[in-house]
Amino acid sequence: MEPEIYRQMGLTDEEFDRIKEILGREPNYVEVGMFAVMWSEHCGYKSSRPVLKLFPTKAPWVLQGPGENAGIVDIGDGQAVVFKIESHNHPSAIEPFQGAATGVGGIVRDIFAMGARPIAVLDSLRFGPLDDPRTRYLMGGVVGGIAFYGNCLGLPTVGGEVYFEPSYAGNPLVNAMAVGLIEQKNIRRGTAAGVGNAVMLIGARTGRDGIHGATFASEELSEASEERRPSVQVGDPFREKLLIEACLEIINEDLVIGMQDMGAAGITSSSCEMAARAGTGMEIDIALVPRREEGMTPYEVMLSESQERMLLVPKKGAEERIRAICRRWGLEAVIIGRVTGDGLMRIMENGRVVAEVPARALTDQCPVYERERRRPAYLDEVRQRDLRRLPQPEDYGQVLLGLLAAPNLASKEWVYRQYDYMVRTDTVAGPGGDAAILRVKGTSKGLALTVDGNGRYCYLDPERGGAIAVAEAARNLACVGARPLAITDCLNFGNPEKPEVAWQFYQAVMGMSRACEVLQTPVTGGNVSFYNETESGAIYPTPVVGMVGLLPDIEKRCGMGFRREGDLLIMVGETYPEIGGSEYLATFHGLVAGEPPALDLEREKAVQALVREAIAAGLVTAAHDCAEGGLAVALAESALAGGLGAEVELASDLRPDYLLFSESQSRILLAVAPEAGDRVLDLAREKGLPVTVIGRCGGHSLAVRINGRTLFNLSLEEMGKQWRESIPVLMAR
């Protein structure tokens, strides 16, 4: 075979030699195609696998860790939550609407492939600055695509995050997380067990969509990738909705052994992964695969990434019943092959073998690379910047108003009002709060969900930034009263073949692992997206954490809005002069520099435990973490959320801008009834936590005094206008 051929598919000479060695012969074109996609970074995790091993993955409540379509955690009563996050960055950069839509479709399929009823979606987005028309086009398309797909499926998109930074301008990030609920007895895994069992394909017909999408996602974006555009798939949420209902009926009637969605690398990946997990093989006749287009070659059929398809291994004798269920839902279901005992993927076309490779050669024998790591040179420059001489603002009210209008902090209602976040009637707290809360019908339980990540912190210190992403997610859950259970993560980075990126990746995973250990939130799965680069450089290293938590009694939940006139405002935790990497520093001083805030994980854990305990005891009327924008922004957000102002009196030696806008970690702002104040203070002191009464709720404005001097007094109206209108106005340009 000409080297040009396999190189174009993304294989190196060494990898090609390895294939020859495994097979003991020259592979044919179809086989090379199968290896190329399965050994791509996207499917094979060849640069990340050794590093991902660092993640803690076990806890008594983790029923399924990494390695399956999605992770599973126990929530009691024989029920479990299934969840996973995935990126669709590259497709969305090329075609934002369809790219984001099919991203939602794909991650939702991972959830019902495990047998779970999907119940919610969250999204984590990164774009360039909003004053760029291209960003507005991308954001409009991405949000529209997520809305189109999720709304049509009848899944509430209950939370998410959106950030704007120049580093994402050419390479936006679109990560979608899906969550499902399951009776534990219904859990299915993606295995093809039972020699002689049929292999069925259900759902959409196969077309020439997205051939080599996986390889595509494993390259930097360039002029050349523009030309590969036809590889972008179009989503059909209507068909996926039918697929969900049909698959859940099939699960409920206990008709399948294993099931897997077809995402990247289509039939190739789903079939060989199912076989490899079971230690079996498969014989597939691709002539039996229903096509949308004429004249497709075996190569095209095997690699097509047509959406809305599932691969099933039925129990013996269940084939007819599965067909009948699919027919009722208007879906095609065909037997395309059977499970074999020889460990081989044998692909036939009308009886002629077109490819024959060991299933495990495609999965487990994917080469693994220990990438060279080097601390990037930029770090010294940005970290050592002296931030002590920055000019102090004159008008703090203006600074706060400006921060509220900064797109990273402004209300994201423009985004989530396009998402149906109420369908399924379980959304007790939707987007806009610290974490979404879903009730579990028929129980007193609630699920709390959040996604978090701060690329700026990770750029300045990936280890700390990674740890903060986990800590902040857990803190968000604590603020609503939930105990965090586990995480799923999406690791968005540049080109791992560059030692600097490999270093960032390793550091971020170390930091996340450390935080997961201490906070007892194991990793149950996730996704790695490398090659997020354009000609102008890599994105900020951006690990995104999706976290699931449990509220044993949903009646004991908390929101972030101030609710009662006269309630005391209590700050748990301490503010340090930490403005490195802050939104204040970026917005007012135009700097992304310094050290991100320090994180003491033991302190973090104690703060969260305290807040949960106080909420469970019914002592708290509002809780909100101090995150980006610092204390001042946290106060404003809680005031706006509740439509109630506050008077705050701070005493401190810190510079006022540091005090107000520092992003010190492990701080949570509480509102408590005056009569409950002492109990909260006592609880905190018992745990050795710093705690301060800083003011009271009331009125229609937010007034802040420091050491007796009024720094600002802003009406809710004024603040609300800046905060609410910023993004709609920018998007309407």
């Binding site: 809305a147 949420p237 209507f238 039918l242 109420m422 009637t425």
Partner: protein
């Protein structure tokens, strides 16, 4: 009283309506399959929200040809109570059980939000628990809720008091600023001339319990039950 919730391919609020009627209000409720041809034995039919047939072509356009629809139409013509919510409303319009048509939201985007609604007519089987002019709060979630009817049809609707719900401010003002989708006359819900078929864009099943942020939807469903218990079955 027996409710039937019709399940079209792509319906996605069917389970929510079922839960609100069955578990919250304790009524008897069954799913009815779009491929069936009979609705006999039911006292009220609900066409739920969602994206029947993906809402492809026009929302509700394909669903109205589902095998069950002739039975629904007969049921409605003989005075049976029919409630179309969101996509269900769109199907009723396409089926000609209600006048007018639905267009894309004027903002060209999907909108999910709480809305305030003015009860313009409480003398219906669906709104009798409200006061006339009462302002209620029910969420919407749709991309095609921009109700349109020509001037003559509108005049008739107004003259017959067929406009049942209008988007308004919390204070009850029916003004453009309170209109989330560009709907003519801020119309959120209309009833047929005979008064037994209501179509509404807002989702009452999403506010039938306090934990979801409101209970006005429960009152709407309870109105139907009250009406039926008083034996006010119209027509037939």
């Amino acid at each position: 009283m027996k409710f039937g919730v019709i399940v079209f391919p792509g319906s996605n609020c069917d389970q929510d309506v079922h839960y609100a009627l069955g578990s919250v209000l304790g009524q008897h409720v069954d799913y009815l399959w779009h491929g069936d041809t009979s609705v006999s034995g039911y006292d009220c039919l609900i066409l739920p929200g969602g994206f029947s047939y993906g809402d492809y072509l026009r929302a509700g356009a394909i669903a109205r040809f589902a095998p069950i629809m002739p039975a629904v139409i007969d049921f409605a013509r003989s005075g049976g109570l029919v409630l179309g919510i969101c996509n269900g409303f769109q199907i009723l319009l396409e089926a000609g059980l209600l006048p007018g048509a639905m267009m894309r939201n004027a903002c060209l985007q999907f909108r999910c939000q709480w809305t305030y609604l003015k009860v313009e007519n409480n003398a219906t089987p669906f709104t009798n628990r409200f006061r006339e002019g009462q302002v209620i709060r029910i969420p919407i979630a749709h991309g095609e809720g921009n109700y349109y009817a020509d001037a003559a049809t509108l005049a008739q609707l107004e003259a017959n008091r067929q406009v049942v719900l209008r988007y308004c401010t919390p204070g009850g003002e029916v003004i453009p600023a309170a209109n989330p989708n560009g709907s003519v006359g801020n119309i959120a819900g209309i009833i047929n001339r005979e008064g037994n078929v209501l179509g509404m864009m807002p989702h009452p099943e999403r506010c039938a319990e306090g934990i979801l942020g409101g209970t006005d939807g429960r009152e709407l469903f309870a109105s139907i039950v009250d009406c039926w218990q008083r034996g006010e079955r119209l027509g037939a």
